[in-house]
């Protein structure tokens, strides 16, 4: 009865186990280790903030960078544990199109809101006032930095880092049980069979690349007439380009896992990712402030194009070869 009109031939030619092996490999070599890195780097960030909470403390800033790298490396894996209890949103709320983060932080500081003393109450705060992007304001934005070693700013930094570390640890721990849903799909679970499990992992790959092209690059690019350098992600800490690179490295890792049985496609992906890495390395524009300059802008546009090229290989070659039909993601819509 069940027809698979378009993929029928390809689907039947695929041994069922092959799909499951790809999913298991993605869990073992990508998802679980990268969430482990996030848990460790955010635990370190928490420790650093306890030791020194001043905005300019070198250890704190270094730990912030490592934790942010850890986050960007998993930012495309928005499945199960990261989505429960708003954990991922609480770690990372961006893009902030209405300026909620500075507004929420300013309100907390103005009111000296005692919510920072209570980790349980802190969870009820707007996600805009929590997580790495809020912390970036406190560490790098001239309107929010403070070199004081105690006081409200310090308490807020500690509260934010404590919550980030706890959420990251909860996500890692929750994956220990959640992984079974992907490894052993069942009619009662969120993934009915191997194909649905594989689609979930494949969607993470596509979503990550789309987010990098549309948001990390597309937002500062704006239009030629109206570039938007101030919309670049994490520009205050000069991490905008780095986030593109870290995310590309992580999605590349996943792309190689998912294409391991399709050698021609894998080779196309290698070349396409190599091209994107070269373009990113040559940019020398850490916060994309160059988007207002026609020549510098052109280089950012070419980088964006190279990512769209990778996405085309995924959509037109890898997805049909794997027998996964595309699905919906959180970026669909406006």
């Amino acid at each position: 009865m069940l027809k698979r009109l378009v993929f029928g031939a390809v689907f039947l030619a695929q041994p069922v186990m092959a799909e499951q092996l790809l999913v298991n490999d993605a869990l073992d070599a990508h998802i679980l280790p990268r969430y482990e890195v996030l848990a460790e780097s955010t635990a370190h960030l928490h420790d650093a903030a306890q030791t020194s909470c001043a905005s300019n403390a070198p250890d704190l800033r270094q730990a912030f960078g490592q934790a942010f790298d850890g986050w960007v490396g998993v930012s495309h894996i928005r499945t199960g544990p990261s989505e429960e209890n708003e954990r991922a949103f609480a770690i990372a709320f961006w893009p902030d199109t209405k300026g909620f983060t500075p507004k929420s932080l300013a309100t907390l500081i103005r009111d000296q809101d005692p919510v920072v003393q209570d980790p349980v109450e802190f969870k009820t705060l707007s996600i805009a006032a929590r997580g790495l992007y809020a912390l970036e304001f406190l560490l790098y934005d001239p309107a929010f930095v403070s070199e004081a070693k105690e006081g409200y700013h310090c308490d807020l930094v500690k509260a934010i880092t404590t919550e980030i570390a706890r959420n990251a640890s909860e996500i890692r721990n929750a994956w220990q049980s959640y992984q079974a849903k992907l490894r052993e799909p069942s009619p009662d679970g969120p993934y009915r069979d191997e194909t649905e499990a594989l689609r979930e992992v494949y969607k993470a790959l596509g979503t990550g690349l789309q987010f990098t092209a549309d948001a990390r690059l597309g937002r500062p690019l704006g239009t030629f007439e109206r570039p938007r350098p101030k919309r670049a992600e994490a520009r205050r800490s000069q991490r905008s380009l780095r986030h593109v690179e870290v995310s590309l490295q992580s999605t590349y890792e996943l792309a190689l896992i998912l294409s391991q049985t399709e050698l021609d496609i894998r080779q196309s992906l290698r070349l396409a990712f190599d091209r994107a890495f070269e373009l990113a390395a040559a940019l020398e524009d850490s916060d994309f402030s160059g988007v207002a300059d026609p020549m510098a802008r052109f280089r950012v546009e070419v980088l964006q194009q190279s990512i769209l090229r990778i996405m085309d290989i995924l959509t037109l070659e890898l997805a049909p070869a794997l027998g996964v039909n595309p699905g919906f993601n959180a970026l669909d819509g406006d």
């Binding site: 027809k3 698979r4 199109t97 209405k98 092209a213 597309g218 819509g333």
Partner: protein, 423 residues
């Protein structure tokens, strides 16, 4: 012959289509009914917008509390059919390119009229956030001087809408009109909508808020534009219209467009952008209809629109029903269990969205639900979010079962080269 199926506790809608009875629905039949429903929904939106236009004209001609209330009621009524059209946005390029003119949101309302001091001033994102066109007949915008002495639909549409390339500069459509009727909702997380006095439209010394004549002119121009925009889109879906033709250009792509609309509106747009983000940000401004406190209805009728695309049935504002061959018929023919799953999920979502609507109507306002620490409100809203996310999984299964694999990702190159998807 009618096919009626009863499961334990779940009464499934009777399928009354003649094509189903005769054998099974063809994709052509399904697409024809889909286009017919679109035409009916936009025609109903046009009818109710014309009623709004009459009410607005009456308000401006004879300002009074009664006439303002009548205009508000007409606005609320106009949202019922319009929200059910939103499922046609994603997947139908003609609709998606057009809809920003009538339903853009959120807006920096200070562009249009006076705002409370707590609103703030110009922002990093928007230099025109407090431009206040109603108070200023001449102003600078993006480096040029604009003469807005006469407020016309053309000024709104071609100069002010998305001025300076900022999406929050919404000068036209339902939400601009909503702001002009209700004003800002300054109640924060308390119950209550915007409380613009009718005297904001009064003549002479009775005028409050200043420039009442210009405010009236703006309201009339925005409403005229809404009506003409809805006339245009209704024609696109009528016999010989481009939007109708587009869904038949490739039948699989047409079916895919139906499912794209259902999935994108359910997941990324309503569950994500509009509902979940509002809860997580605890911001009463994150309501879809924040001036009128009508957000519960926005979500409800969006959900209903998704459901009636699948079931192929729409109840018009006069109570008549447009129905015919449906996606449900197609799926039932291939995989009856999946059809039941899809119908059940859609019904569950409507139950959850209905709970939000009923609570709001009973006095638990949507902005109260969004308040920091309001766990009951959060649970209500998240019930809707979870239903929408859950039904999206089933929509993905339907895509797989029907073998229409061209779900279009916004921003993807494959959108620009749809033929490549089908090669």
């Amino acid at each position: 012959m009618k096919t009626v199926t009863f499961l334990s506790g779940i009464a499934l809608l009777a399928t009354t289509t003649s094509s189903f009875a005769a054998g099974h629905a063809s994709k052509t039949d399904v697409l024809t009914n889909y286009a017919n429903i679109a035409e009916a929904k936009y025609a109903d939106s046009l009818t109710t917008a014309k009623a709004l236009q009459d009410a607005v004209n009456a308000l401006v001609a004879a300002p009074s509390a009664e006439n303002l209330q009548a205009a508000k009621s007409a606005w609320l009524a106009s949202r019922v059919p319009y929200q059910q059209t939103e499922v046609y946005r994603f997947g139908n390029t003609i609709v998606d390119d057009w809809e920003g003119k009538v339903n853009a949101w959120p807006l920096d309302e200070g562009l249009i009229d006076y705002v409370d001091a707590s609103y703030g001033g110009a922002t990093d994102e928007n230099a025109a956030a407090v431009l206040n066109v109603i108070a200023n007949p001449m102003f600078e915008l993006g480096g040029t001087t604009v003469d807005a002495t006469v407020i016309t639909p053309d000024l709104l549409e071609n100069t002010l809408q998305e001025a300076d390339g900022v999406e929050a500069n919404v000068a036209t459509g339902y939400h601009a009109i909503e702001f002009l009727l209700w004003g800002q909702d300054l109640n924060g997380h308390e119950a209550g909508a915007g409380a613009r006095p009718w005297t904001d439209y009064a003549a002479g010394d009775a005028c409050t808020g200043g420039n009442c004549d210009r405010r009236g002119a703006y309201l009339v121009a925005a409403t005229d534009l809404l009506v003409s925009d809805l006339m245009w889109i209704t024609a696109q879906w009528s016999e010989g219209g481009d939007a109708r033709a587009a869904v038949f250009a490739n039948e699989d792509a047409g079916i895919s467009a139906m499912l794209t609309g259902m999935g994108s509106l359910s997941y990324g747009e309503t569950a994500g952008e509009r509902m979940r983000l509002g809860v997580m940000l605890n911001d009463p401004e994150e309501e879809h209809s924040c001036f009128s406190d009508n957000t519960h209805n926005d979500h409800y009728y969006d959900g209903l629109g998704v459901q009636n695309v699948y079931l192929g049935s729409y109840t018009r504002i006069d109570g008549s029903v447009v129905s015919g061959a449906s996606l449900s018929d197609l799926v039932a023919h291939d995989d009856a269990a999946l059809d039941i799953e899809m119908k059940t999920k859609l019904a569950d979502t409507m139950k959850a969205l209905g709970a939000i609507k009923h609570q709001a109507e009973a006095g638990f306002a949507y902005d109260q639900m969004l308040e920091r620490g309001n766990s009951n409100g959060e649970a209500l809203i998240m019930g809707g979010v979870n239903g929408l996310i859950d039904q999206t999984r089933s929509i993905e299964r339907v895509v797989a079962a029907l073998g229409v694999d061209a779900i279009e990702f916004e921003g993807s190159d494959s959108l620009d080269n749809p033929s490549a998807v089908f090669e």
